[in-house]
Symmetry: C2
Subunit: 335 residues, 2 copies
C-alpha cells in the first residue's frame, strides 16, 4: 500500500503536479475552484506530503532539536514540555538529544543533526562561549539558561533571584553563606556565584564557594560535608537535586535543618515540595522558558533579524521549611 504522492493527486485531479504542490504550499497562486478540487481529491486519496522530499528542495524541515545537558534532571522536563507544546502548535516536531553532560557528545549530536533540523535549542550547554558562537555561524541556535553575547537566548532570571535569596537569609539572621557550585563549565554556576557573592557583599554577609559538584542527589553527600567545614549557617546548592542530597546527608549526620543550617536550591522541581524538610528554592515558569525558546527560533526563521533577542523569564523565590532562623531549637517559618 504505497501511499499516494503528488503525482497520483495530479493525475486524479487532471492537473499538473506543480498545481497540486501550490494548492498546498502557496494557495493564492492557484484559482479558487482548482484549489478546492485539488484539495478534495487529495483528501479522498489520503495524500500526505513527504517531508523529506519537501525538505530536500525547500531546505526547511519543520523540525527543531533540543539538546539538554542531562535528560535525567527533572528540571528539564518542564522545559522540554514547554518546547514540545510550542513546537507542535506550529506544526513543528521536537527531537530530543541528551548530551549526558559531555560537551563532546553535545557537539557530535549537533553535527549529526545539522541537516535534519531547522535549528537548535541548547539547554544549559557546556560548550565554551566561542564554540557556541562558531556553531551559531553555521546553524540557527538559541541558547537556553545561558547568556552568550551575540546569541539569541532565554534564561530564567536568577541574578535578582539570588539577591532575594541572600536577602532572605540575611533577614533571618544568617551572616555567612556557602554556595555549593555546579559543574565547572556551567555558565549558570558561574553566574549564580557572581550574583550571590555580590549580594552577600552588599548585605554584609560572608560568602564562600565550594565545589564544583555534579548537580545530582548523589553529590549532595560530599557537598554537605564540604558546606559544614566552612562554618556557614546557610548553604545554597546549585540545584534542587544537589540540595536534596545535602538534606539527606545532613539528616544522616544528625544535623537539623533549618535550625543548624539552612539549605536552599534552584529550579523548584516537583520533589522540592516533598522532601523533608520541604525546600526553599528559586522557581519560575520553566515551561515558559522552553516555549519562548522555540518561539524565538521559529521567528528567526521567518525574518532573520540582525539583533539576537535575549529574553529573561521572571523567577520567584519559593520559601519553604528548609530555611529558618539559625541557632534556634525550633525551626521558625519566615513570613
Amino acid at each position: 500500500m504505497r501511499s499516494s504522492t503528488i503525482y497520483d493527486v495530479a493525475q486524479a485531479a487532471g492537473v499538473a503536479t506543480s498545481t497540486v504542490s501550490r494548492a498546498f504550499s502557496n494557495p493564492d497562486r492557484v484559482g479558487a475552484a482548482t484549489r478546492e478540487h485539488v484539495l478534495e481529491v487529495a483528501r479522498r486519496l489520503g495524500y500526505q506530503p513527504n517531508p523529506h522530499a519537501r525538505a530536500l528542495v525547500s531546505r526547511r524541515t519543520r523540525t527543531v532539536a533540543m539538546v539538554v545537558s542531562d535528560i535525567t534532571n527533572p528540571h528539564f522536563f518542564e522545559l522540554i514540555r514547554g518546547a514540545e507544546m510550542r513546537a507542535k502548535a506550529s506544526g513543528y516536531t521536537l527531537v530530543l538529544v541528551n548530551a549526558e553532560e559531555s560537551p563532546r557528545i553535545e557537539l557530535e549530536q549537533i553535527h549529526r543533526l545539522t541537516r535534519s533540523v531547522d535549528g537548535f535549542l541548547l539547554a544549559a550547554s557546556r560548550q565554551p562561549a566561542e564554540d557556541l558562537l562558531q556553531l551559531a555561524a553555521g546553524h540557527r541556535v538559541v541558547v537556553v539558561n545561558r547568556r552568550v553575547p551575540g546569541l539569541a537566548s532565554v534564561v530564567l532570571e536568577h541574578a535578582e533571584g539570588c539577591r532575594q535569596m541572600v536577602a532572605h537569609l540575611a533577614s533571618l539572621g544568617h551572616d555567612s553563606v556557602v554556595y555549593l557550585a555546579g559543574p565547572r563549565n556551567s555558565w549558570m554556576a558561574a553566574s549564580r556565584w557572581a550574583a550571590i557573592r555580590a549580594a552577600a557583599a552588599e548585605l554584609g554577609l560572608r560568602a564562600q564557594r565550594m565545589g564544583p559538584f555534579a548537580p545530582t542527589v548523589a553529590s549532595g553527600g560530599a557537598a554537605a560535608d564540604a558546606a559544614l567545614t566552612t562554618g556557614a549557617t546557610a548553604a545554597i546548592a546549585h540545584n534542587d537535586l544537589l540540595a536534596i542530597g545535602v538534606l539527606r546527608r545532613l539528616a544522616d549526620r544528625g544535623i537539623q535543618v533549618p535550625q543548624d543550617v539552612s539549605v536552599v536550591g534552584f529550579d523548584d522541581i516537583f520533589a522540592a515540595d516533598l522532601c523533608t524538610p520541604t525546600l526553599t528554592t528559586l522557581g519560575g515558569a520553566h515551561a515558559d522558558v522552553g516555549r519562548a525558546a522555540v518561539e524565538i527560533l521559529l521567528n528567526s526563521m521567518e525574518q532573520p533579524r540582525d539583533h539576537a533577542p535575549e529574553l529573561v523569564v521572571p523567577s520567584e523565590l519559593i520559601l519553604r521549611r528548609s530555611t529558618g532562623v539559625p541557632g534556634r531549637s525550633r525551626g521558625q517559618r519566615p513570613a
Copy 2:
C-alpha cells in the same frame, strides 16, 4: 557556505558519485584503496550526508518517534531516557511526542509523522486495541506498558507485582484494599485491577475499585476521600503521583499513614523516596523498558519477523514507610 555534497566529493576524488555513496553505505562494494581515498577526501571536505536525500530513496529515516500519553509524568522520564540512549547508540534520532492524554492528538501526531520516522514507540497508549492493530498494519509499532495480542510490546511486569503487593498488605494484617484506578481507557489500569482483584481473592482480602482518577497529584485529594468511604485499610493508587496526592490529602485530614491506612503506588518515581511518609511502590528498570522497546523496533526493521515479541521487564516491590500494620499507633516497618 553550502555544505559539500556527494558530487563535490566524487569530483575531488575523481570517482563517480555512486562510488562515493557506496564507500559509505556499502563499503564492501568498493575496493579498499578507493574506499580509503574517498573517505579521506570526504573527511577533508567535511562531507556530511543529507539525511533527507537519503531517506527519500532508501525509505529509511533512522528516526523513531516516542509518543507518551503525558510528558509531564516523571515516570516517563526514565523511559524516554532509556529509549533516547538506545536510539543514539545505533545512530538513530528520537523524536518526542506528547499526546496530552488525548487519543485524538495521539493519532494526529502519528499521522503527521508517518513519513518522517521509521517507527513508533507508543507508551501507555490510550487507543482502543483495534485502532492500534490497524495502525500497526501501516506502521512499524511497538507498544510500551501495554499488551495488545499480535503487536510487539514491552511492559514492566505488574501482574506478579500486584500479587506481591497484595500479599505484602495481607501479611501486615490488612483484610481489605481499594484500588484507586487510573484513566478509563488505560490498559494498565484495567490490567492492574484484574491482578489485584485476583490476588485479593486468592489471599482472602476484600478488594474494591474506585475512580477512575487522573494520574496526577491533584486528583489525589478526591481519590483519598473516595478511599476512605470504602473503609478499606489499604489504598493502592494507580501511580505514584496519585499516591502522593493521596498522602497529602490524608495528612490534611489528620489521618495517619500507615497506622490508619496504608498507601502504595506504582512506578517508583524519584519523589516516592522523598515524600512523607516515603512511599511503598512497585518499581522497576523503566530505562530498560525504553531501551528494549527501541531495540525491538530496530530489530524488526532489519529482519521483519512474523512473530511479534512480547517482552516483560521484571519489576520490584519497594517497601517504604507508607505501608504498615493497620490500627497500630506506631508505624512498623516490615522486614
